[in-house]
Symmetry: C2
Subunit: 396 residues, 2 copies
Amino acid sequence: MGTTDRIKAVAEKVIKTKKNGDNVIVVVSAMSGETNRLVGLAQEMQVYPKPREMDVLLSTGEQVTIALLCMAIEEIGFPTRSYTGGQVRILTDNSHTKARIEEIDTDSIQADLATGKIVVVAGFQGISEDGHITTLGRGGSDTTAVALAAALKASECQIFTDVDGVYTTDPRVEPRAKRLDRITFEEMLEMASLGSKVLQIRAVEFAGKYNVPLRVLSTFEQGEGTLITYEDETMEQALISGIAFNRDEAKVTIEGVPDEPGIASKIVGPIADANIEVDMIIQNVAEDVTADFTFTVHRNDFKKAYSILQEIRDTLGARRVTGDENIVKVSLVGVGMRSHAGIASTMFKALAAEGINIRMISTSEIKISVVVDEKYLELAVRTLHEAFDLTDRAYD
Amino acid sequence: MGTTDRIKAVAEKVIKTKKNGDNVIVVVSAMSGETNRLVGLAQEMQVYPKPREMDVLLSTGEQVTIALLCMAIEEIGFPTRSYTGGQVRILTDNSHTKARIEEIDTDSIQADLATGKIVVVAGFQGISEDGHITTLGRGGSDTTAVALAAALKASECQIFTDVDGVYTTDPRVEPRAKRLDRITFEEMLEMASLGSKVLQIRAVEFAGKYNVPLRVLSTFEQGEGTLITYEDETMEQALISGIAFNRDEAKVTIEGVPDEPGIASKIVGPIADANIEVDMIIQNVAEDVTADFTFTVHRNDFKKAYSILQEIRDTLGARRVTGDENIVKVSLVGVGMRSHAGIASTMFKALAAEGINIRMISTSEIKISVVVDEKYLELAVRTLHEAFDLTDRAYD
């Protein structure tokens, strides 16, 4: 939710859906900038703001939006009813600022829907068994929407965003990127975790778990958006759904480590202890029976990881530590990979033809990721977009 | 509640009281400017914002403050617990934006106090039997504080304001005005309704009804403030407690009305129908057996009242309508009046000595009000302050 204009735009969308004869429940987030404003106030008060009070504070953001959206809808002439998380009774555990939904009571909402009301629910928030206000953490409003859709067995959960759907890749990098009509939960999860920022991973996981069809739509533009569902056997399956990439990567290497049992944990252990998340890990054994370990970390953690490895080098008697902050990860994602060989080979050939050197490779059942020098990012994405014919592809 | 600095100042005050060994419950209002900001957002959404949603919206103001104040107190090292109106269970009727408190459940608060916690409650808000969020309307936070004090049988209810107590009159008009150590509920009610803006009338009424001693204090300054209680027989009672005045007055007169039964209601009825509140009313019968009616209204209603009287003049065949927008009301207030004659005569003599012409007079058991030309306001207040020796007076 952005400015008041945005709330009015949502009111129009909601009424359009209602006029189509569907019952509508709208889950809202805080207005743009509001959460940051509240966090700023909290930081003026307490160095480490108390999580319970942080939830009391932040939950007001969505409460403001439910009231305003109801007013905007009523102004156009449709009856509404707003609900805070506690009023619905979205029951969560007691983990303030990162609570998990345990149960949703839909009785009151269903009674309102039965009388023709448009129901507006504050996302991101719930209530604990003891009556404390809780919040769900990042992506919380999307999670609320999916959980409500599941509890009410809704036919579809629509997520309104700044973009009009999920694209084969970021249109700022490849202007010919194509909006996908459909994508599977698994693909969306890979896309999200690989750096595509359309939806929060947690909401997608939740939707997949409870089999709630998700549709990503634009708040301001028209269009069908992108439907995220389980794989449908009747639909023709594309090889590749999209190309995700992540600029926030850096890699570090420790060379000449004695190749003996337990060595990996001696290296990765201290990194994990420093709260640094490791993404890709590669180990290869050289001829002199020492090993080289390479792994990628978030670019913000590069310096810390590098200096930890230098300490380990001294302890283990390894040869040397090297690092590179100027790398990116580019990934092909598609459930079609499962049944088609040769994807990797096509990928590597296309990159080689453009002189792009691959530094690391990692694969899973439905994705192939490569690490390349940062300067090649745009070229690599466009090359792969072309090589896998994503521009012309259509599901329907 | 003002800025974040103000919240920190309140935290210091609260902890000081706690250190004195008293249990503390703090009732807070929204931060300065917040309510206006929210009302502005509502008006962007709906021409006449729906009262139910207005309450959902406005109640976030106090919810923000309870969280921030708890954080500020915890930062200094004292345990807290915040409560929204609904969490306390401040049960109200269903009159959104002007709800009345029906019942307060103090169990949870008392349990928290027993474990040494400082309890922070959102003022101005409650919850209806059906779980809807309600607000109490103007002065609501003071009312919440008094109601909680009554329910918990607190020894005192302290109201922190911009001023350090109740004064004999407005110090901006009479710099020698003296802070009162004590004042009775009745006097405070008269002072409040006559234009002294320290406390909301409703909170004072409520405190009087449930016999909760109120103390008006400054948020930023030190001092004992002013205690508002029932009349104490052991204390020496001053004749006059203070001088209130009101600049928002205007008067209208309809002259030469036939003096017959029912004529007053024919005049005041149409005024009331137009939602204009009438304050003082005077009727005098002239020798020609027609009557003149004069009454005062809020200055904003002057033009409307004047034109209504002109219509009535035509209907009733009255002589003419006159009016004056440049008048003020000055009032002496004091329970001591009850037992002392001569107050009025001293008042009139003092004003006459300064050449101040009295336009209207109205009295009640503990007050005498006069209407004078606006230009004499300051002179009249200072003259009476001197005449009744308010500068030197002290209760203790």
